[in-house]
């Protein structure tokens, strides 16, 4: 599912500059609050969860919503709410690593390509094009086939697959920025390229990169959840949203909606929140630049 | 009195913006007789583009209007959808400023030329033949081949000739040209103007020529209207206007044009910046930039009045003969 919106590619086509769905204002605030709440839940899951997420209680099998189990229980009688709260941990950690790695790598590649230009630029740009010709999820599945199930290999694969999204963006902004006279004047004053990049270039491109990274976070979350859903990512019995949906599919056919629907809603909310935040930041940057 | 081809009568346009309606035009009246070339001059933001678009009923959907825009006696602003189509396909054509922007870059030039005729119900083959004639008339070589080419294969000047040909395709009795040469480079400007005036004279088409260039307007037009901040501030026969402007704004416009004559005074720009109708004060909108302004100018709104001869000017001090 390599459907992440490539902001750079869209930027290049006039008219798609603003693929905006959600406005700013209250919705943006709400999304930020939701993400903050998600992080808090992930951090404090043990304090918040009413039950041990892995505790089996066969008497509660497929129990509906009640005061005992607010969101019911799954096929093994585990409390869905508690698993949901714990699931936020792997749900956020995987994408966090993917986004952190791909952002760092992307900035490095993008800045170096723009700064050095010439052959270095050609080589790096070609490499990014090459990475783009592989669907990220497929590469992650390949990795799993070699190393066996688990999050490490897919996270690395995803990080590489997402790097060009950041790298192309950084490269194009850095190229524009580099052409501005102030960079020239620093060079004339004898500053090193490295210092100029760190002190002046990076702060200028940071907001745009942040926007792209927030959007990438949502897509990485979807992709990694998909892997867990397929049984390749987080392994049972660890609570994870994608894995919960996989396990809950059986319960669904027996008429119990909550074990599969609850994590589905969580994933959608998180992804929507990330795209609202990403687009909101991008909008602000666009306004600032105008 | 003889009926004019175009009569804009006391036209006021407001655009709703948020809660307040932003005024664009205030009591604009002008007329174009059959076969007459009339200039409408003003800086950007003066409302001249809105005024000329109103002739084709091309105002923004939410615009509120007062007054009438009559073409051959019928009010454009109250026309039905069919009436508008009739007006646009047969009576009035418009030439826009930038040919690059006004011709769809994805479609062939032939499509562009025949589109209006097809909308008027002309059969495809006849429309193509006529398109070829028209391209020939505006001086495009190999008209048949040109029909099959795309806009990006033409230079700006050549493309504006195509636009002119397309505007003439429906044999309109009135042409509205909105800054038809502004986007072109100087040498092609003259060619395009020559073509435009020649065809206008040959075909007896009435023309409303909108421009920011007062000198150009007075050189090619019979009469000129000068607009400032959504109002007509002066109108005269072109030669009179050039020799004896009545309104300080007109005079200012003439004074800021560079001259080539050796004994000419150096160009003097009008101080300040042009205002729109929405920002203008209650009195004369030009008062703040006017060298002759008095106290009453910023309070009392001047109306268009006739001074010796045919011209009209909206200046409280025009009758004092202070000018120039």
């Amino acid at each position: 599912m390599t459907t992440a919106v490539d902001v750079t590619a869209l930027r290049r086509r006039p008219g798609l500059r603003r693929l905006r769905v959600f406005g700013q204002g209250p919705l943006f605030t709400a999304a930020v609050l939701l993400l903050a709440a998600l992080v808090a839940v992930a951090l404090f899951a043990p304090l918040l969860a009413p039950y041990d997420p892995d505790a089996l209680d066969l008497q509660a099998t497929l129990a509906g919503s009640s005061t005992d189990h607010l969101l019911g229980a799954d096929q093994s009688g585990r409390d869905v709410l508690s698993r949901l709260l714990y699931g936020a941990r792997s749900g956020l950690l995987g994408p966090l690593v993917v986004v952190a790695l791909s952002t760092l790598l992307g900035i490095l590649v993008g800045v170096v390509a723009a700064w050095r230009g010439g052959r270095v630029d050609a080589l790096l740009s070609r490499s990014m094009d090459l990475v783009f010709s592989f669907p990220g999820l497929l590469v992650a599945i390949m990795f799993v086939a070699v190393t066996g199930p688990g999050m490490t290999a897919p996270v690395i694969a995803m990080a590489v697959a997402y790097t060009p999204y950041v790298g192309r963006l950084v490269r194009s902004i850095a190229q524009q920025e580099k052409a501005r006279p102030y960079i020239e004047s620093y060079l004339v004053q004898g500053w090193s390229g490295w210092t100029i990049c760190v002190r002046h270039l990076l702060p200028n491109i940071a907001p745009t990169v942040l926007a792209q990274s927030a959007i990438n976070f949502g897509y990485a979350l979807m992709d990694l959840a998909a892997l867990s859903f397929l049984g390749f990512g987080v392994q049972p019995p660890t609570a994870d949203w994608g894995a919960m949906i996989n396990e809950g599919e059986g319960a669904l056919l027996q008429g119990a909606m909550l074990p599969a629907l609850a994590p589905s809603v969580c994933i959608m909310l998180a992804v929507v929140a990330f795209s609202i935040v990403g687009e909101g930041i991008a909008d602000r940057v666009a306004k600032r630049d105008r | 009195m003889q009926q004019n081809l175009l009569e804009i009568d006391d036209l006021t346009v407001r655009l709703p913006e948020g809660r307040a309606a932003r005024p664009i035009l205030d009591g604009v009246s002008l007329s174009v007789a059959a076969g007459e070339m009339v200039g409408l001059v003003g800086e950007s933001g003066s409302g001249k583009s809105v005024a000329c678009r109103s002739v084709l009923g091309l105002l923004p959907e939410r615009a509120r209007t007062d007054g009438e825009v009559r073409v051959a006696g019928r009010d454009v602003l109250t026309l039905s959808r069919d009436g508008l189509k009739e007006l646009r396909t047969r009576q009035v054509s418009m030439i826009f400023q930038d040919p690059r922007a006004s011709v769809n870059p994805m479609r062939r030039v032939g499509d562009f030329l025949t589109e209006g005729m097809r909308a008027a119900g002309v059969p495809a083959a006849a429309a193509t033949d006529r398109a070829e004639e028209l391209l020939d008339a505006v001086g495009i070589r190999d008209p048949r081949g040109a029909l099959r080419r795309h806009p990006h294969q033409f230079s700006g000047g050549m493309l504006q000739r195509v636009v002119i040909a397309a505007a003439l395709a429906s044999r309109p009795s009135l042409l509205v040209a909105d800054e038809p040469t502004t986007a072109l480079d100087v040498t092609t400007q003259a060619e395009v103007i020559a073509i435009l005036t020649r065809l206008q004279a040959e075909r007896g088409t009435g023309m409303l020529f909108v421009t920011h260039d007062l000198e150009l307007a007075s050189a090619i037009c019979d009469r000129v209207y000068v607009m400032y901040a959504g109002r007509i501030v002066e109108t005269q026969a072109a030669t009179d206007l050039f020799d004896r402007p009545r309104h300080p704004y007109t005079a200012g416009l003439l004074a800021c044009t560079p001259r080539v004559e050796p004994d000419a005074a150096p160009p003097r720009p009008i101080p300040g910046r042009p205002v729109s109708l929405a920002e203008s004060p209650s009195g004369c909108a030009f008062a703040a930039r006017c060298a002759h302004a008095q106290e009453r100018c910023s309070v009392e709104k001047p109306v268009l009045r006739q001074y010796d001869g045919q011209g009209l000017a909206a200046c409280l001090r025009a009758d004092e003969g202070i000018l120039l």
Partner: protein
């Protein structure tokens, strides 16, 4: 033009060579002896082991092995499935029709739904636009397995309109009917994205002067929208849409797994799970080839849509 095409084909071959090399060497990168890796979890006789060694030319130097493997692949020989004890090529061949049908069905849904919703939103500002924006916003955030869950719980468990996971139809119409929920699940995310792309491309064109010019000439509004707005918005729609459709090739494995569709995608997931490596290699290679090919076709279409583009530079970059 020819030079551009040759360049692009060379790029395609490069990608395939790199992919095949990665796919091939992955077996050797995996910990342990390739034979036991290839046969992990399967009881084998010494003869089978010898057959595997021969098939993969494991006694040859590494690079020779690779070349021989590529040679076989070029002849359509992907080896034998460890799991099914069957020729990989015919195994994939038997699963291909379902997957092709599913992807085709889904692609039609994406194009129709996405373009219609986008056009509608662009032409009806206000309430309709806001509703479409909200729906497409949610759709883009809905991964296919979540759509699968929601669709199954609503349309097969609650309403019973469509068969649940695992059922397959007989005959074309019935198969299509059985593939409806999977196709919708596969289409949801991309429909939302395509609708957004369509909407902004349309809005961009609606504000252009050539549209006003067409109106000023008395061209009927329907024709203005069709011939100028939609026609000119087609460029971004096809480019972005095509790239998205290439993404279907991968996400189909998720949907096929969720709905138990017996297709190439579910075969990939199954084979990864049981480490049936020859199958994984083959499907990966085919998918990457199709992915790159679709993207190439999209790039070749661009100058047909926009006459200003020529096939001399790489894309729009």
């Amino acid at each position: 033009m020819t030079r551009y095409l040759l360049g692009r084909l060379l790029g395609l071959v490069t990608v395939l060579l790199i992919t095949s090399f990665l796919v091939f060497s992955a077996v050797h990168l995996a910990p342990g002896d390739p034979v036991s890796f290839l046969l992990k979890g399967h009881p084998v006789s010494p003869e089978t082991k010898a057959a595997i060694r021969a098939q993969y030319h494991l006694d040859d130097p590494f690079f020779t092995q690779y070349l021989k493997w590529v040679g076989n692949v070029l002849h359509g020989d992907f080896g034998r499935s460890v799991q099914f004890r069957h020729d990989v090529g015919s195994l994939i061949g038997s699963r291909l029709p379902s997957t092709a049908l599913l992807i085709g069905y889904s692609a039609v849904l994406v194009c129709l739904g996405g373009v219609l919703a986008g056009v509608l939103a662009a032409l009806r500002p206000g309430a309709v636009d806001r509703v479409v924006l909200l729906c497409t916003g949610v759709a883009t955030a809905t991964p296919p397995f979540v759509s699968a869950i929601v669709l199954v719980s609503l349309f097969s468990v609650q309403l019973g309109w469509f068969p649940g996971p695992g059922a397959a139809g007989t005959g074309f119409a019935d198969r299509l009917y059985h593939l409806t929920l999977p196709a919708v699940a596969l289409a949801v995310t991309l429909t939302g994205l395509l609708a957004r792309v369509t909407r902004s491309a349309m809005l961009d064109q609606l504000g252009r002067e050539h549209v006003e010019v067409a109106r000023s000439r008395g061209v009927a509004e329907d024709d203005v929208v069709r011939r100028h707005v939609l026609r000119n918005a087609l460029g971004p729609i096809v480019t972005v849409g095509g790239t998205m459709l290439a993404g279907l090739l991968v996400s189909t494995s998720i949907v096929e797994t969720a709905f138990n569709v017996s297709g190439v995608g579910s075969l990939l997931v199954q084979s990864v799970t049981v480490k049936d490596f020859p199958v994984v290699q083959a499907i990966t290679l085919i998918t990457v080839a199709a992915f790159v090919l679709v993207n190439l076709v999209v790039d070749l279409l661009a100058p047909l849509i926009d006459p200003r583009l020529t096939l001399t530079r790489r894309g729009a970059s």
